[in-house]
């Protein structure tokens, strides 16, 4: 993960992951995903935006390998290696009996690496999220936002090629959410990592991502894609700019389009 080169513009990025004709059927009759096609490029910040039940989380779980698709192909450019994936859930999902340091150690620990061997990595990850002085704290001593930072540090510690985030900031208050949005973009700029971010929020998806993949429900599928062509770094000023408002309107229209598609299907 080099810190010197910058992320190439959209359209000039190498492919990282290709999902082709993915179907996922639950219990033999619930179509969670139908013919999902998505190419993820290195350096993409993709938001999966859509109503509940559109299969956003299912798509994420398929990529994470927690589920297998009913049919279709997921191919990784260069194969999927250990430590390639980092995951952040909606809840911080920390082990309450373990200190911050031990929690961040987990991905390495499960590969049999001792704490001393990877202390450097752990401190680096904690520094990335601004919690280097909290390594010995227990999760209960931290605020909701700080817990989420620990969760992000844990996802970063293996320097993954792809970070999956499943509505990570949905349970936080707005001020904390904005702060973490800013910090996430800073991290992404530093690490040049690829992110797939599941969210319900049009505003959050526009602020963060350069590609918004809008999904429709029943069956879950990609409805449309909105390109957010605002340059990074994006600051608080971007949030109040006319360009942001315009992009939000565009994304919002796309989302409504996706929901109407569903309505037409339902009434048909």
């Amino acid at each position: 993960m080099s810190n010197t080169s910058s992320i190439p513009p959209l359209g000039q990025r190498d492919a990282l992951l290709h999902m082709a004709n993915i179907d996922k059927v639950f219990n033999g009759n619930v179509e969670a995903l139908k013919n999902l096609n998505l190419t993820v490029n290195q350096g993409d910040f993709i938001s999966l935006l859509g109503p509940s039940g559109c299969g956003k989380s299912t798509a994420l779980r398929l990529i994470a390998g927690l589920m297998r698709q009913t049919s279709g192909q997921i191919t990784w450019n260069g194969g999927l290696n250990e430590g390639d994936l980092g995951v952040v859930f909606q809840e911080p999902t920390l082990m309450p009996w373990a200190t911050v340091e031990q929690n961040v150690w987990l991905p390495h620990r499960l590969r049999g690496k001792s704490l001393d061997d990877v202390r450097g990595d752990i401190m680096w990850a904690l520094k990335m999220v601004g919690l280097e002085s909290f390594q010995k704290s227990y999760p209960r001593e931290l605020s909701g936002g700080m817990k989420m930072r620990v969760s992000i540090a844990r996802a970063l510690v293996t320097q993954p090629r792809l970070i999956l985030m499943d509505e990570p900031f949905a349970a936080l208050d707005e001020i904390t959410r904005h702060k973490l949005n800013n910090d996430l973009l800073m991290l992404r700029d530093k690490l040049k990592c690829t992110v797939i971010f599941v969210t319900h929020s049009v505003f959050e998806s526009v602020f963060l991502s350069d590609r918004i993949v809008v999904m429709a429900a029943r069956p879950g599928r990609v409805s449309s894609e909105v390109t957010v062509d605002a340059p990074y770094p994006r600051t608080e000023e971007f949030r109040t700019s006319a360009q942001y408002a315009e992009l939000c309107r565009k994304a919002s229209d796309a989302l409504h389009g996706a929901m109407n598609q569903h309505g037409e299907r339902a009434s048909a």
Binding site: V87, F89, T93, Y138, R140
Partner: protein, 286 residues
């Protein structure tokens, strides 16, 4: 009144409600210890007066003084008996912990194992030990082994059921995370399931500690006059035949004290292991 005023000069908070709250907190702190001790002393005093004023003969109800006197006088015999009962209790508890946790781990490793063997655990638990004990003493020659088996049957179930519940209570997102990072079954058990189960297990241990003592005492009653290595329950029976009521009380006192000590130790252990992270051991300030 001077103490709170002193404190107020140190802290800037002088709000009346806060002050009352602080006072109530202090009162609670003191009452938490003094109230039970005072009530206990009062009860013993009333017991003593009841015996003295009504001139109750000591072979019907001995006063507390006489019980203590007997305890000291018969200490040689009673301490031996205490040691026997304590030994059986602690050994039964140890085997209950090993067996309970071991079975619980097996249960969570295989659903089929749990389906197959859980009914046996329930049957053992719901059958009163007094009704199984005579059979056990027929089949098991070794008296110590028989006593141990009885006490174990009573004590192991809360550990088994609590630990099984705990092992199955892991956070589902954490389970997913372990899967994503390719954790082995053993890693998942050791780093995720066992720590999750710890508070549940400790809750079970507190119950099992008391039950092991009950199991030890009850099985001694059933085993009857075994001769060598007689425990406290046997001493109570024996003293009863001889109408030595003060000694019955002295032995009873020792059993009760043992139970309290076991419970306290289990609670201390629980606090020591959980106070850093578990909700149950954390004092909230509101």
């Amino acid at each position: 009144m001077s103490a709170p005023e002193m404190q107020n000069t140190q802290s800037p908070v002088v709000d009346l409600e806060e002050l009352q709250y602080a006072r109530a907190q202090r009162r609670d702190k003191i009452a938490k210890w003094t109230l039970p001790v005072l009530m206990l002393l009062l009860a013993i005093f009333l017991w003593d007066r009841l015996v003295v004023w009504n001139e109750i003969p000591h072979y019907i109800l001995p006063g507390p003084g006489l019980v203590i006197e007997t305890l000291i006088e018969d200490w040689g015999m009673l301490s031996d008996a205490l040691w026997v009962t304590l030994k059986i209790t602690l050994m039964a508890l140890a085997v209950a912990v090993l067996g309970g946790v071991g079975l619980a781990v097996l249960f969570t490793q295989s659903r089929y194992f749990e389906m197959a063997f859980y009914p046996f655990a329930v049957i053992l638990q719901v059958t009163p030990v007094v009704s199984i004990a005579p059979l056990i003493f027929i089949y098991v020659d070794n008296r110590l082994a028989g006593l141990l088996l009885c006490a174990w049957i009573v004590a192991f179930f809360p550990i088994l059921s609590n630990t099984t519940l705990g092992l199955n209570s892991t956070d589902h997102n954490l389970r997913d995370l372990y899967k994503i990072y390719g954790a082995t079954r053993w890693q998942r058990l050791r780093y995720l399931q066992l720590p999750t189960a710890l508070p549940y297990f400790l809750g079970g241990l507190r119950i099992a500690g008391g039950l092991a003592l009950i199991g030890a005492v009850v099985s001694e009653y059933v085993a009857g006059t075994g001769g060598i290595g007689s425990g406290l329950a046997f001493r109570i029976l024996e003293a009863g035949y001889r109408l030595n009521i003060p000694r019955m009380f002295a032995a009873l006192l020792l059993i009760a004290a043992t139970g309290v000590v076991i419970f306290t130790l289990a609670s201390l252990l629980s606090h020591a292991l959980l106070h850093k992270w578990h909700e149950s051991a954390i004092k909230r300030e509101n």
